[in-house]
Amino acid sequence: MTLSRLLRHETILAVLTVIALIVLASLSDKFFTTENLLNQGRLMSEVGLVALAMTFVIVTGGIDLSVGSILGLTAILLGVFWKNLGLPLPAAIALAMLCGTFAGWVNGYIITRFNVPALIATLATLALYRGLAEGISQARSVRGYPEWFFFFGQGEVLGVPFQLWLLGIATVIAAVVLGLTPFGRATYAIGANETAARFSGIRVNATKLWIYSAAGFLSALAAVVFVSRVTTTRSDMGTGLELDVITGVVLGGTSIFGGRGTIIGTVLGLILIQALKNGLALSGVKGDGTIVVIGLVLIGAILVGALFDKNRGG
């Protein structure tokens, strides 16, 4: 796997991101300030954590639409375990995250055991997990968390938001696993040709189970950060998150058909989207306009990628 070949899309994306940053900085003097950039990093962390796992999912040729619902479910369970069941908050957090991870595992189990397409399976659990969250919460929000809990979503370490550290560490781990380990090789192989992977002695089902469980785990982790950041738990948390996540991953050059993609690409894609959202808002573009621009950038990036792909030749 030559690095230059894989990095081609990422190079384009990096150039695009730099251009976007320069343009946005020139449009508004509030954009390119340390404070604003760190704050944007804070806002991007939840989507970012989930996008790391989603990169693996999409590289295997799958998709996970239920991540937003898992986030919502984990958030609700956290609140309920703590407030209604009276568990100590650390135990409630741990248990809720375990449930979120289990929800991800269930996705993987349905997909591998019953051979259901990932799109269908997670479309079903998208509804299922959200429904559970709403049923459990009874439309009541949970608030009044102790002060220390807000550290995860609002605290800083060495002047950098806590969740950015979390995202950074998770990114390094994900990049190493996908790029350098047998697990990563298996992930690419499954996405490029699942049958051949199986015939080569790759543990296809086990690999997928791990990946969907990881998606559940990172969604749950994102839920804890989210609750801590906004200080309340509501059942509609994370609605539509899956679309932001998938947009970032695909913009990052991961093939929706599987077999190709990198963590670096995903991170660049996320940064570009967050920068556009924030920069355009700061320069007075309304919300609708921002979405249109993001859509255009996505199409543009994919077209450019396809062009380079063609030039590479058969």
Binding site: Y188, A192, N193, G201, R203
Partner: protein, 519 residues
């Protein structure tokens, strides 16, 4: 087989028709991506003859057929129909010139009726421009009757019909187009013996009506029973066109492969060792039934049989893709539960699958990625894949197997079939297997690479590897195997040692088992 009987009848050796040949090819050449697959081929088809087109896989038969059928256009040379030069821009032009094809994969519409399929695209119309159902049904009935297929119901949906019946519909469809030439691409490959006989009767019937048949088949008995003349291609070159009466089987084979057969298959080296693999009454559902055999180190065991006889299914059961539902598999005399390909690999079993593109390779990845895939655990440093060793391993395989590639990072999909097969072999031999299962090891690869793979198999067996080879090419089974098992209907129906494994004996068992299964 009734060889010789046809040569005297309708076959057009007579000069009277020579000006009106249904097809004549003059110095036809065709290249794909700069590689010449057909070079300077000339032959003609005479009215009412069965003209066999023979050659090894990759010899250019398919390309020739497609040129005649208008699917490909020749780069050089001329096609003449009735003495006039024609250009076929599409299959439609070929149809208009009276050339129809019965493809290997039948191209019928399963949800339409027999009559609708026969007349699709040429439906009889009423004065109002509507479909004339009455005329269509009457003409469909007539056509099928003329093919002695009175038993076929014209109102039945095609989906419910057997392969043999569907083939007759395809032939009727060609006749409805007033075909003067019918190209049949391996028409008997998927047929049961009874259907083969019936097809041969239909072919004779068509010839008697003056339809010329271009008949592509690997099966020697059919060629000698049906054909008037035979054209042999090798590596895209025209070797010869001869009356069937002037050749025999050995001659045809040597024309096809370009050397004598005993030089093609390398002799056995060394003695057999202990039993490596033993199956005791192994079954998987209804496709693998009560299979028992043993395979020794240093031995090449050939598994013969028709398509669907359970050979590949047996291999998949041994390899853990479809673990046995009953029975025991013993490796080195110890019963083993092989529940997955990784379990099989860890026991030293390797499987080079039948479908190279789907099962054997990840075509979008590089040679080194493919070769490392079955062997990742051995190519690690700490918890990481050691990229340098992956490349090193690929380089070794490229040298060892003579893979023609730019380097380890070249994408597998850019390689030729033979080189792709060597990559699959390289991947599995990198795991140091002791038992190697090869399913159609030389399917779709050129003659040169084929011989190299045969040499390699012999060498591996000589070094003590136990090899189970599945092949649909009888010459390969007979030439390579130390022992031959014949399968039919999911069972082992016969066993031959080297001395008794003749084409007649093995062929008879293959087809007999098939008839037994149908009964």
């Amino acid at each position: 087989m009734g060889s010789g009987t046809q040569n005297s009848d309708s076959a057009g050796g007579d000069g009277a028709t020579s000006g009106f040949l249904p097809i004549e090819l003059r110095a036809v050449s065709k290249s794909f991506a700069g590689i010449k697959v057909v070079s300077n081929v000339s032959f003609d088809i005479r009215p009412g003859e069965v003209h066999a087109l023979m050659g090894e896989n990759g010899a250019g038969k398919s390309t020739m057929i497609k040129i005649m059928a208008g699917l490909h256009q020749a780069d050089e040379g001329d096609i003449l129909v009735n003495g006039k030069v024609v250009k076929f821009a599409s299959p439609k032009d070929a149809h208009a010139a009276g050339i129809a094809t019965v493809h290997q994969e039948l191209l019928l519409f399963p949800e339409l009726t027999v009559a609708e399929n026969i007349f699709l695209g040429q439906t009889p119309k009423t004065a109002m421009g509507l479909i004339d159902w009455q005329a269509m049904r009457v003409r469909a009935r007539d056509l099928l009757n003329s093919l002695d297929s009175h038993d076929l119901d014209i109102d039945q949906k095609v989906a419910s019909l057997s392969v043999g019946n569907r083939q007759r519909i395809e032939i009727a469809r060609a006749l409805a187009q007033d075909a003067r030439v019918l190209i049949m691409d391996e028409p008997t490959a998927a047929l049961a013996e009874a259907d083969v006989q019936r097809l041969m009767a239909i072919v004779r019937n068509l010839c008697a009506r003056g339809v010329a048949i271009v008949y592509v088949s690997h099966r020697m008995p059919e060629i000698f029973a049906l054909a008037n003349r035979v054209t042999v291609l090798r590596d895209g070159q025209h070797v010869a066109t001869k009356p069937v009466s002037e050749v025999d089987e050995a001659k045809l084979v040597s024309m096809m492969v370009g050397r004598s057969i005993d030089r093609l298959y390398p002799p056995k080296q060394g003695e057999n060792g202990n039993v490596a693999l033993e199956l005791r009454k192994v079954s998987f559902g209804k496709v693998v039934r009560d299979i028992s055999f043993s395979l020794r180190y240093g031995e090449i065991l050939g598994l013969a049989g028709l398509v669907g006889s359970g050979r590949t299914e047996t291999a998949l059961t041994i390899f853990g893709i479809t673990p046995p539902t009953s029975g025991d598999i013993l490796v080195d005399g110890k019963p083993q539960v092989i529940s997955s390909p990784e379990a099989a690999r860890d026991l030293g079993i390797a499987y080079v699958p039948e479908d190279r593109g789907q099962q054997g390779l990840i075509k979008a990845q590089s040679i080194e990625d493919n070769i490392a895939l079955a062997n990742l655990r051995r190519l690690m440093r700490g918890i990481f894949v050691d990229a340098a060793r992956v490349t090193e391993e690929a380089r070794k395989a490229i040298t060892r197997f003579g893979i023609r590639a730019r380097g380890p990072e070249q994408l597998v999909r850019q390689l030729s079939g033979g080189n792709q097969q060597k990559v699959v072999l390289g991947k599995w031999l990198a795991t140091n297997p002791r038992i190697l299962i090869m399913d159609e090891p030389t399917r779709g690869i050129d003659v040169g690479a084929k011989a190299e793979i045969h040499q390699l198999m012999r060498k591996l067996a000589g070094e003590g590897m136990a090899i189970l080879m599945i092949s649909s090419e009888l010459p390969e089974v007979l030439g390579m195997s130390d022992r031959v098992l014949v399968m039919g209907g999911g069972r082992v129906v016969a066993e031959f040692d080297k001395a008794h494994a003749t084409a007649e004996a093995v062929g008879a068992e293959m087809t007999r088992s098939d008839a037994r299964d149908a009964a």
